[in-house]
Structures are given as C-alpha cells and as structure tokens.
Symmetry: C2
C-alpha cells in the first residue's frame, strides 16, 4: 500500500512558495517522501512549473494565509488558511502528517484544535532536537505546547521524546534527563519532585536530574520538562547563541561572515524542526527562515514520525484509558 | 558613625585565601569598603602579611571549610564553617553583609537558615546581573532561591530586583519584564498569568511579558521569574555561551586565546556576583573562580545593597504584615 503523503504548507515561511515548493520537490525526488502541497493553487503551480513538477505533485487549494507575525489563535480560527486545510487533510486521513514553516504558535494552536489528542495521550508536547557540543543532538521536550502539565503528562512527554530520539535521531536506547535545578534526587520544584518518581521503570534509560548547562552539553539524548520552562529554554538558547556570537564579532577575533556560518550550523531547527507529538496526527514546524533543504528534511522527519507510530509507547506504558 | 564592615569568607572559592584576602585588601584600600575576614586565622594572617595588612583588617576565626563541591544543606549544618560564622556576624549586627566565593547552593542554604527573612518579605530571591549585548546588564531575579513562589512572592522579587538595578547598576528608573512564553498579555503559565496583574502600579516601569531571547538582549533592566525557571535560565546561559564559543573554536575562525577573553568578559558573575535579597542581612555569592578584583567588586556590591536598604520598597509597597 502506498503511504499517505505528507501535506506541506506552501504559504508558510519567510521565503514563501519558492522555497517550500522547492523543498517539497526535493523531499519527493531525493528522499522518496510522497508529498502534497497546500495553499494558493496558482502560486504553487507556477513554482512547480519551474521544477518541471506540475502533475507530479498534487495541490490542495487554500485561499488564506496565516501571517508570519500571527502567534496565537487569532487569524488562525479562519478555516480556509493553508494551516487549517493542511491539518484537515491529516484529520481526514488524506495525509500522514503536516509540515509548515509558518509561525510556530499559530500552527501549534490550530493543530491542537484541529487534530485532537491521540488515544491515551493526556496533552501534546513540542519536541526540538538541539545540536550539542559533542556533535550529536539532544531532544528538548516539551518546548512549548503545554505550559502547566501534571507529573503524569511530563512522564508521557518523556516517552514521546524518547520515541522521537529513536525514530528521528536513530538513537537505539535513549537516555532521558529531567530538567531541574540540581542534579541530586529531590532537587527542584514541586512538579519535578513529583515527576522524578514516575520516570524509572519506563522504557528508556532514566539518567536522573539534569540542569540548564546540560541542554547543549550532550549529557543525555532527551531532556524532559514542562512546556513553560522548555519554551523559555529554547528561546534562551537561540538568544544566547546570538549574543555570544555578537560578543565574538565585537571583540574582532572573527569576521561576521565566518560567524554567520557557525550561527547557521547552530540553528536548532536544522535538525528537523519542532515536532508536535501526541496528537492524532503528526505535525512538524520548520523554522520560518527555512530554505528548500530544511523543508525537505522536515518532510522526512514528519514521515518517519508518522510511520514509526510515535505515540505507541505512551499507549503501551502510560495510557490514561484502556486501549480498546 | 563608621558603618559595620563587610564580612568576607576567606576560605571560599577555587583559589582559596590567596585571592579572597587580596580581594578584601583591595576592597578596603582602593574602594573604601570596611571589611573583616572570616576563616582559618593562621592562613589568613599569612596572606595579610604578604600585603603588609596584618592589623589593618580584622580576622574572625572559623575552623571548618565548606567544600566547593558541597551544594546543599549537608556539611553546611556545621556551625563552625566560615560560611556559618560569616552569617552569624551579620545576624549579630557585627557585619553589614557577607561575601563568599563558596558554593552558591551551600551559601544560600546557610544564609536562609542563619539570617531569617527581613520584615515584610515572604521569601528571599537570588539576583544576578547578566551582561547584555547592548553593553549594559539585565538583573535576573529569582535565579534560584525560591523554586515554588506564589504570585505575591514574584511581585516582591520584582521590587527587590528593581532596587538591585538602582543600587548596584545605577539605573534611575528601571524597567521590569515578567519572563514568559509570549510577549502578549495573558501568555504564560498559571503563575505568570496571576503575577501579571500584580506588577502594574508598583514603583518601576512594568514592561509586560518578555521571553527567553530577551534575557541577554537588553530589552529590560530587570527580568523577574520564579526561582526554578530563573536557575535553569542562568545555568542555560552559562552552558550556551560555552557551547557557542566551542563551536566558533571548532570552526577555526578564532583562536582559543581570543575566545577565552570573550568568555571571561561574558562571565555573568563579574557584574557583582549573585545577591541573596530579602533576608535580614545582605549576602553576595561571588563566582567560585573569582580573583581578587572580583571579590573586591562583590564587597562593594554588598556594601551598596546593605547601605541602600534593598528591602525598603518591599516594606513600603508589598509588605505581608503591617510595619510596626
């Protein structure tokens, strides 16, 4: 059976259809990912023509565009945006996953409303793979979907993050650390102290508590936390890398050109974008500045997560209702 | 009236009495800060002799040393450590403040137990001045003293942070941002949503919500948050600067020598150390790697905070009990 295609939001991202369509073509031709493009049909077909790909990739028309400045639920309530139509395709089973380079906040809001939670999952979580100094990557989960989770939800996030590390990063037996403010057991806040006891015994190597300086140090494969702390950390990493490179540039020890290259290599989202896990359907948000290659990589990640059944472990180990 | 001296922990820090005693001498001679040294009298006098300062600076003997690896309340329960004796001097009114380059966790634990809270203050907060890309600094408060504060406590932390910005950084009319996961009002978790309403009307410019990327961007003078998030952010900044510079070094665009200089300039604690505010006495924790100049700067900060009455605004605006 041919797998359902990955739906790609042609209108999202800073560079518009030129890069998203090129990314979809690349995903299909170079990486064997079946895709369908969602957005303004005329604009999409014009871009497909430049790649000689009209007729090769299906197009689903959506009239409206979510502006990149949109961050919450505002304009997203419109049902004819490319984001809404893309999520609908996944809900209806016409697509296996949805990829967008649109505003993370807007895509996440719409996906949660449009797709609903997977059976057995309490709340969705956003997973981002951050490049670590050791050359590998660490999955940060939840990076912003659920701001006030219970300990049970955080334990589910850990399972989702471990599955992401296996399916996307290829880590056979991932280690998981609980983000806290001291590495000793019992250190932390009420949430971490209550979560600590739920993690041993789950199907991953529980490392214990990790701290803020472990995020990029490669200490563990997965760092699990609540969506408030995770989102603050994600944005803090981005801002701090920017600040540190600005300090280096100002000190005059390296040229801006060379530093731009380092900054690009460091962009957390180049490792596959932010994956919204735990919904009844897979959604991957690529960085707004994504070029074709990054969009193609996000399509591959979305396909792997969808095929791999990322929520299976949650159902097997921490389901909130018996599986029928 | 001669102000009470600042008590300096001679035994704390990676470099031992050599640097702490030199720092105390510098504080007194170059910056006019009266000081008293706490620790093993023999070792301290030997160092004082090298600066021809025996008899010029008083010494209070304390037999025990808190190891730098000590992070919690363990060995700190001993009453004869230089940390315990230093806190006692402040409690008895024999010192105006205590400065240590010992383990932050150990000093904070002991100070909270030994000094008690200032009248009207619900919980203490740790304030750290982080250098921002604009060349100024932003005060992060609470950086780790109170992991699970109520909204009222966070509002007090904001007042303490604003006082710190005035007294230590010389900012006449500080702006304060509430750390959250979206700049729009109402974005965040339960704690930030409940805290948001308490901040307007307090005696500082309330900027509204700020995000993780604002921490080093110079967006506001003070960023207020709970001690869990603040401690994760502080350690994440340190780890991310280290990781970014390692990436630059690996890319070969700048030599390790030049980068070490950038890293040193970036060390958050060089701006005065971490100040524990809201206790009945001022405590400043300098970085463990502090050299004499950093210790001297911490003494100056401690003196300014103690003289400035950092808790006055809390008593005036958000006291929990009527002032008698």
């Amino acid at each position: 059976m041919m797998p359902e295609p990955v739906a790609v939001d042609a209108m999202g991202g800073d560079h518009g259809p030129a890069e998203t369509v090129a990314g979809a073509v690349l995903a299909r031709r170079a990486r064997g990912v079946p895709v369908v493009l969602v957005g303004r049909a005329g604009a999409i077909r014009a871009e497909l023509a430049r790649h000689d790909a009209v007729g090769e990739i299906d197009v689903v028309h959506a009239e409206q565009i979510v502006p990149m400045t949109e961050r919450g639920a505002g304009a997203v309530s419109a049902d004819q945006t490319s984001v809404a139509v893309g999520c609908d395709l996944v809900r209806q089973g016409a697509a296996s996953a949805f990829v967008s380079a649109g505003s993370t906040g807007a895509v996440v809001s719409r996906a949660i409303r449009g797709l609903g939670r997977a059976e057995g999952v309490l709340r969705p979580a956003l997973a981002v793979a951050l490049p670590s100094v050791t050359g590998g990557a660490t999955v940060l989960v939840d990076a912003g979907a659920t701001a006030d989770p219970t300990p049970e939800m955080v334990a589910q996030f850990a399972l989702l993050g471990a599955s992401y590390a296996q399916l996307v990063l290829g880590v056979a037996d991932p280690s998981v650390g609980l983000l806290s403010i001291g590495s000793e057991p019992g250190k932390g806040n009420r949430l971490t102290r209550r979560t600590e006891g739920l993690l041993p015994g789950l199907p991953f190597r529980f490392h214990g508590n990790v701290e803020g300086h472990d995020v990029l140090a490669g200490t563990v494969d997965v760092i699990v936390t609540d969506g408030f702390t995770g989102n603050v950390v994600l944005k803090n990493v981005e801002g701090t890398v920017r600040a540190a490179l600005a300090m280096v540039a100002r000190a005059g020890v390296a040229g801006p050109e060379a530093l731009r290259e380092v900054a690009a290599r460091y962009d957390p989202e180049t490792h596959g974008g932010a994956a919204l896990l735990g919904l009844d359907g897979t959604v991957v948000v690529a960085h707004g500045s994504s070029r074709a290659r990054t969009v193609a990589r996000a399509c591959e990640v979305a396909r792997d997560l969808a095929e791999g059944g990322v929520v299976t472990r949650v159902r097997d180990h921490l389901a909130v209702e018996p599986v029928r």
